[in-house]
Symmetry: C2
């Protein structure tokens, strides 16, 4: 990441203006480097003449600060866009021209379809959605897009943004029953136009600040053990609970609702009702949260700019590699550990009966097992787990992420335990964890010298014994010694057999 | 750290053989990269003919593995030494020659004085000892050294190693009363020869596996909140408790004593008694643990090889800088935040009344506040704290370390709280934390653009108001804006005044 560029994406929304700075080597690796968020409420007081003076002033000052920030922090590339408020305002173009002239900042106005498109591009680079719909609740508008075979098919934008709806329908605190009814009617009236929604096949994915924040509220309520919201599943049932709270509590109390951003407390109910309506109409029980949205979509168009479709096919594989690259993994060592672990895994298939899904978790953990050394050698197994669980991995479910983190945690010592993450696991996962950890640990110690000394492993067994034969050029003394000391005990527990280690090459004297 | 060398130090002790690999740019920065520990028990079965065949075989095999490990992991420099067992054995030199011939590994036999010297060099690079004594309890011998003005004066080595004493005096489990008496008598008889011990001025510092492990036991018992043992104070009272347990429990139970390494459980009592005797004789209530010892001393001789005395004078300052360098800090930004924080701190002295000690903590936190971004931008304040508290900082007390970590934690948001580290703080430290965090946060946001836009700050106040005047070339719009939003509230709480922010440069229109 040392020769990386700094790419800024500015998104002037109807409620919030956001700046993110990504450090990236296009096509290779990326990471978030900075973020600034300012509630501008650009749409507030908007009328047929367009944006209000006060709102434009707030937006202008914020954009100038963003621009100065980019200049002083040496951003190489600025991608700036404006969405529904500017798009819908009579004076929107004039505002954009003024920004261009006075700040030298080119604000690209996205039409509804484009706004939807970029949200989908962001989501497809974060969640493993193949077919279904992507919902983006903004401040001014909401976008619903149809996705087929990981491609954007069509997007539809409607004035169902949380701020826009609140301004039109909510005038008492907490919301009055009539207001609530009117709000629901308007949402239903508008959604009637989305003919394909009722018989939607596939999954629902949600993005945008409103949905992330509603997920955060549920995560807090349910004691969700992960920090990242990557792939969080927000159920209709959970949403109903939150809506009841938002509907009955006065603003002062809503602002203290655990997980809820206080500067959203006044408008989020409207957004929650839109999501509920979409869930109900599509007949889905839950939606999956994408932490990537419009801004990331714009970024990925740049990151994958040599492609027509700025979407990676194998999102999980690339996500793992991106994390490994960002944390400067030792490529040769990690690759060889992954290879050896895979060889042992596949030969043991008759014993454990696992398949591609489990193998993918093992391979991911093998590539990431040492990234914690960037923090410190002491406890690097724990640090690797921290990096994996804090960062999150695109496309993996919370359960899979927890398992990958736990595998990294137990790659060198101790008896594997789910600990805080037990609530994410399924029946049988404890045994899976022990067996995959045993295989990963074995591979790690077979590559202890970090020199690919062990070319391959031949695995054989009977009812009482498991035999591991190392194939190497010379007798791999370091590997055999450290494997004996540190890896065989867990292997023998995991596969309920005495484990024997030998080599195709004879030991030298004193070996 | 990218163009760093890999330096291995091998230490063949009487009980344990250890290999550490340091990544270092000599005179610039260093970090531990790998460590292997093998209990060889080289002294076991030693007689007038010297080391036993079995012991030499164990040692030889381990050394060969260490050598192969160094070769395969591309170590640039190997520093290998042997201590008391080889030193005292009739066949010691023969063993060293064989290692030289067969492994191409040059084992340097350290005499007692040199062994003591290197332990002191390691300790002086880890703890802020000026005058006093350094105690190193090994497997075969124990070293006691006199230190004056941060220099090694003289070292004295005696056969008081934990393994040596255990082999001579302990034959029943748990230890019999007669054995216990004989052991204490031998220790006292031997320590009588250290004439300067009874009227020792200054502090006691302890190092070596035995002492580190006894500290670990006390840390576990007392719920010590830090991971690192840097600067841990092991009191005589705590040691007495541990000795009682070690004396009465059978081996099987001792092995399960929290914090105790099971492979030391059989010999550690003897070491504990030596330390107790030294504490009693020197009339000290406690000793400070150095996590650095002989191996690090040998390393520092190489690291500081352009100096006659391989000891850094300002150990705290260098330790902070080393951590900042290892974690790739942004030098210009960190330096400017430190400068601005220092300027505010010094001008506010009449209000807070703090001095150099508090200023040093603020400066350390300023240099380290962003190192967590190496892990991730999201939550980098928390990550910075983790790195500081896990790594530990040479020369700082646990209280000081906790405060530096907490300052980094609260450098951008939230109300500072001691949390898990309250037990390490003193009365008044909560206010200190809030005030230093307020100053650090102010400096951070005054440098938000990371471009040294703010040259200086002039601070003035009356009973109700605190005024901050920014001195800059142009109006520092980004800094004023983000400081207003994020830094002034805590400043006003910390100094019980309304805080006003202005600039020597007039704002531009719309500013």
């Amino acid at each position: 990441m040392l020769d990386s560029q700094r790419i800024a994406v500015i998104d002037l929304g109807s409620n919030t203006a956001r700046l993110i700075v990504m450090a990236a080597v296009p096509g290779h690796s990326y990471r978030l480097e900075d973020e600034i968020r300012e509630v501008v409420r650009l749409r507030q007081g908007m009328n047929e003449d367009g944006l209000s003076e006060a709102a434009m002033h707030r937006a202008f000052v914020t954009l100038r600060l963003f621009k100065r920030f980019c200049d002083s922090t040496h951003v190489d590339q600025i991608i700036a866009t404006a969405t529904s408020a500017v798009r819908d305002a009579a004076n929107g173009r004039a505002f954009v021209e003024r920004v261009q002239q006075e700040l030298g900042l080119t604000l690209r106005i996205l039409d509804g379809e484009r706004e939807a498109y970029y949200g989908v591009i962001g989501a497809l680079n974060d969640v493993a959605l193949r077919d279904g719909a992507v919902v983006d609740i903004g401040g001014g508008s909401a976008q619903i897009s149809l996705v087929s075979d990981r491609r954007f098919v069509q997007g539809w934008s409607a004035p169902l943004g949380a701020l826009a709806l609140t301004e039109r329908f909510v005038h008492s605190d907490p919301i009055g029953d009539d207001e609530f009814k009117a709000l629901e009617q308007e949402i239903n009236r508008t959604l009637d136009k989305v003919k394909w929604l009722p018989n939607l096949t596939g999954d629902l994915v949600g993005l945008g600040g409103t949905i992330r924040n509603l997920a955060r509220v549920e995560a807090r309520r349910s004691g969700y053990p992960l920090v990242t919201m990557h792939g969080f599943s927000l159920s209709l049932a959970a949403l109903e609970q939150t809506i009841d709270a938002l509907r009955t509590l006065p603003l002062a109390k809503r602002m203290r609702l655990p997980g809820l951003r206080s500067d959203r407390a006044d408008i989020i109910l409207a957004g929650a009702l839109v999501i509920r309506a979409i869930l109900r109409r599509s007949g889905k029980e839950a939606l999956t949260v994408s932490v990537h949205g419009l801004r990331e979509g714009l970024f990925f168009e740049y990151f994958w700019r040599h492609w027509a479709e700025p979407v990676i096919a194998d999102i999980r594989g690339f996500g793992v590699l991106n994390m490994a690259r960002v944390y400067r993994y030792h490529k040769k060592h990690a690759n060889h550990v992954r290879f050896l672990a895979g060889r042992v895994f596949e030969q043991l298939t008759p014993l454990h009966g696992y398949g591609d899904a489990e193998r993918e978790l093992l391979a991911a953990a093998a590539l990431l097992h040492d990234i914690g050394t960037l923090i410190a050698y002491d406890g690097h197994d724990v640090h690797s787990q921290t990096l994996i669980l804090n960062g999150g991995l695109p496309g993996f479910t919370p359960r899979e992420l927890a398992l990958i983190g736990l595998l990294a945690r137990y790659h060198r010592k101790s008896m594997p335990e789910p600990g805080d993450y037990a609530s994410l696991l399924q029946p049988g996962d404890e045994l899976l964890l022990m067996r995959l950890a045993a295989i990963l640990r074995l591979a790690e110690y077979l590559e202890r010298g970090r020199s690919s000394a062990v070319d391959d492993v031949a695995v054989s067994w009977n009812t009482t014994t498991l035999r591991l034969t190392l194939i190497a050029d010379q007798y791999p003394a370091v590997e055999i010694w450290d494997t004996q000391r540190n890896a065989l005990e867990l292997m023998s527990r995991a596969f309920a057999r005495e484990v024997l280690l030998d080599s195709t090459v004879a030991p030298t004297e004193l070996g």
